[in-house]
């Protein structure tokens, strides 16, 4: 008679057999310091990087603040708090010789990138993307530098920026996310070992997408990258960020800080495709992703955050905009997928200070397996932010009945000329939708991918073309077999 049907449990179980595609380690010598965190370690990191005195001072202050802080526990996530003395805070791939072009890359490293499907060379040729790569903690190569330099655009590792452009770093570092902002930002400020730096000069439109790939490779290391992006008056830049990590049984810590500064009339588009190792099907291992991302918008400027989050065991992340200038615009487009035992507490904060400031929030959660996904968002409209507007839409899509989704919207409006709209929906993929697709010859896996893609369309559309394709593939991989 009928083909044997898989029970829901069996189907849900199949999800878990989908292996993490990026889980491999690269054999490379690395310059690693002993585990643990102390003032000496902070000094050692600074010394290894040959940093100026002001930078060391900045780090030490942050370290002091961190010591006085407690790890937050208000988020809707449960995890065993990392032992901060059991983490390696600095690990740099060897040889550490400086590279002028990607062609000089270490062959092992090159292989890694090929496995990641990045294929740097291809990217370089085909997609007009300038790539900066941060492996463990150190930026390995930056491409397209000379093309950009001609336009006065600076795109380099933050270490290099500290050496070569100290005035810019000094002026902006920590202005949007001060060290004392939260536990993880303080930790990051004390120990960050690399990250990206970008400066777009006045009136300049960056002619290509700038992009950084982050990867944690070394066992037992934490990754603390720091990104600082400044779009000077009237400039424009689109920036992409991708993340992966090898499979490991222990949890790895990723505590990054990203600061964006959009000066008058500038526009920054910041896109992330995050695929850190989510842990195995029993919830063992995986990356703890505790990230602080925030941008400040001056007059008539705009910042757009787009994120597709499929990885990490625990995600704690709220890319935010401070809409300081009049007529400034903040946007947040997010797809967050959780599967198996993944937990995500993510969302955004839109702080309206300037008049006529506008913000849009489109957050799409997809939960499968035994995972938990939460949207947490704050819309704050201050007294002076007259005629401001916000539109928020938070949708969740559930697959199976063992997962959970939660929405925590906080809305504070301090004047009466402003408008805030909030819409929220929760849905399941309907059996009738799947049958309809099946009837047209589209198998159940493909049908789910198709339906999920349709559900995420508003967000995926915000991504640059080649990233959107990658994001779609990631969504498919992370949801394979998760039929309810």
């Amino acid at each position: 008679m009928k083909k044997e049907e898989l029970s829901e449990d069996e189907l849900l179980d199949q999800v878990t057999s989908t292996e993490y595609k990026y889980g491999f380690t690269t054999k490379m010598d690395s310059d690693t310091i002993p585990k643990g965190l102390s003032e000496d370690v902070v000094r050692l990191i600074s010394k290894k990087k040959n940093e100026p005195e002001w930078m060391l001072k900045y780090r030490l202050e942050a370290y002091k603040i961190w010591l006085s802080m407690e790890e937050p526990d208000w988020a809707n996530v449960k995890y065993k708090k990392p032992n901060y003395q059991d983490i390696i805070y600095y690990s740099a791939p060897q040889p550490k010789k400086k590279l002028d072009s990607l062609d000089d890359l270490d062959p092992e490293l090159k292989k890694t990138f090929d496995k990641l499907g990045i294929s740097v060379n291809e990217q370089k040729r085909l997609s007009n993307v300038a790539v900066d790569i941060v492996m463990d903690s150190v930026s390995v190569a930056t491409s397209f530098k000379s093309t950009l330099a001609k336009l006065g655009i600076i795109f380099c590792s933050i270490s290099e920026a500290i050496q070569e452009h100290p005035e810019l770093v000094k002026r902006y570092l920590g202005t949007v996310v001060p060290s004392g902002d939260n536990f993880f930002s303080a930790l990051n400020a004390a120990v960050f070992s690399d990250g990206s730096f970008c400066y777009i000069p006045k009136g300049s439109k960056c002619p290509m997408e700038l992009s950084t790939y982050f990867r944690i490779n070394e066992a037992g290391t934490g990754q603390f990258e720091r990104t600082l992006l400044i779009a000077d008056e009237g400039s424009y830049v689109s920036y992409l960020e991708g993340c992966t990590a090898p499979q490991r049984d222990e949890n790895q810590l990723h505590a990054a800080v990203v600061e964006l500064i959009a000066l008058d009339n500038a526009e920054i588009k910041y896109s992330t495709v995050q695929n850190w190792y989510p842990g195995n099907k029993d919830g063992i291992g995986g990356v703890f992703n505790f990230v602080t991302k925030r941008g400040i918008c001056h007059k008539n400027s705009k910042i757009s955050w787009t994120q597709v989050e499929t990885g990490s065991a625990v995600t704690w992340k709220y890319p935010s905009c401070i809409l300081k200038g009049d007529n400034s615009v903040g946007e947040f487009f997010s797809v967050a997928v959780t599967n198996n035992f993944q937990q995500a507490d993510t969302g955004t904060k839109m702080i309206h200070l300037g008049k006529n400031s506008k913000s849009t929030i489109i957050a799409k959660g997809i939960c499968a397996g035994k995972s938990d996904g939460s949207y947490r968002g704050l819309v704050h409209i201050s007294k002076g932010a007259k005629n401001s507007r916000n539109f928020s839409q938070c949708d969740s899509l559930l697959m199976g009945d063992k997962c959970g989704s939660h929405t925590f919207p906080y809305i504070e409006v301090k004047n009466n000329s402003s408008q805030v709209e909030h819409e929220a929906t929760t849905s399941k993929i309907g059996e009738d939708q799947i049958f309809y697709c099946n009837q047209r010859g589209i198998g159940t896996e493909e049908a789910i991918a198709l339906i999920v893609n349709g559900y995420c369309k508003d967000v995926l559309n915000q991504l640059p073309m080649e990233f959107a394709v990658e994001a779609q593939k990631l969504l498919e991989i992370s949801l394979e077999g998760s039929v309810g």
Binding site: K2, F435, N438, Q439, R440, I442, G454, Y455
Partner: protein
């Protein structure tokens, strides 16, 4: 081509189809009529493989192979197409992308690579003309916000694109205005060939004036209680169902 033998199916312990027998040959058009709730849509869903319904006995042979052994998508690949009585919305997926996905999957089974965008587009254009569809259709999301008639036309459009061997049209006429009915019926007629077959489920003679059936069956309470030629439909239109159902109810003790 299609041979249904003593098919019994239902939901949980309620039997909806109580022993259906039906043979459809290549090149034929069969009409299935019957009162509301008699099991017409259930029959089409079971043929297409909707797992909501449990099949308790019988077989559905399609070109000699029992469809009951196949998943719904595999049945579609064999050439079974169902125009839904209530087409489903798929938000965020455009008509063109949906059809592309369906055609890509079908081609995969045939060992063919993806269709070129150009080829796909020209074939879509041709079929749209056949059904007098407006250009905007392709970029609209599948059935999202479609009017009742637009949904039905979209079903026949997909049928035209997928070129099935067996098309089951479940009340495709309901919701279509008078002009649309003629256009869609003409479209269906043009797609007919000696090699394929059509099953039309309808309540009204009007559609059968356009698509003339070779056989008409009356489904009542889960059984085909009467079969005849195209004149049976006229008779039903005139006299209603009572005269056929009464006899059957006496026979089956209902």
């Amino acid at each position: 081509m299609l041979k249904i033998n003593d098919l019994k199916a239902g939901i949980e312990d309620v039997e909806i189809l109580k022993g259906i027998n039906l043979s459809v040959n290549k090149g034929e058009v069969h009409a299935i009529m019957g009162p509301n709730g008699s099991g017409k849509s259930t029959l089409s869903a079971v043929i297409a493989g909707n797992e909501t319904y449990e099949v308790n006995s019988g077989s559905i042979l399609f070109d000699g192979e029992d469809l009951l052994d196949l998943d719904p998508d595999q049945r579609a690949h064999k050439g079974v197409f169902l125009s839904f009585q209530y087409p489903v919305e798929i938000p965020g997926i455009s008509v063109s992308n949906f059809i592309k996905a369906a055609i890509t999957e079908k081609r995969k089974v045939l060992g063919l690579g993806p269709i070129s965008a150009k080829e796909l587009l020209s074939s879509m254009k041709e079929k749209m003309e056949l059904l007098s569809m407006k250009k905007g259709y392709l970029s609209r999301n599948m059935n999202e916000g479609f009017s009742g008639g637009e949904k039905k036309r979209n079903e026949i459009f997909q049928m035209a694109m997928l070129e099935p061997k067996l098309a089951i049209l479940d009340e495709t006429d309901s919701g279509l205005d008078i002009d649309a009915l003629r256009i869609v019926a003409n479209g269906v007629n043009k797609l007919k060939s000696k090699e394929n077959a059509t099953i039309i489920i309808t309540h009204y003679q009007r559609l059968l004036d356009y698509i003339v059936p070779d056989f008409v069956h009356v489904l009542h309470n889960g059984r085909i209680i009467k079969s005849g030629g195209k004149e049976l439909a006229h008779e039903l239109e005139e006299k209603g169902y009572d005269w056929v159902t009464k006899e059957a109810d006496e026979k089956w003790g209902y």
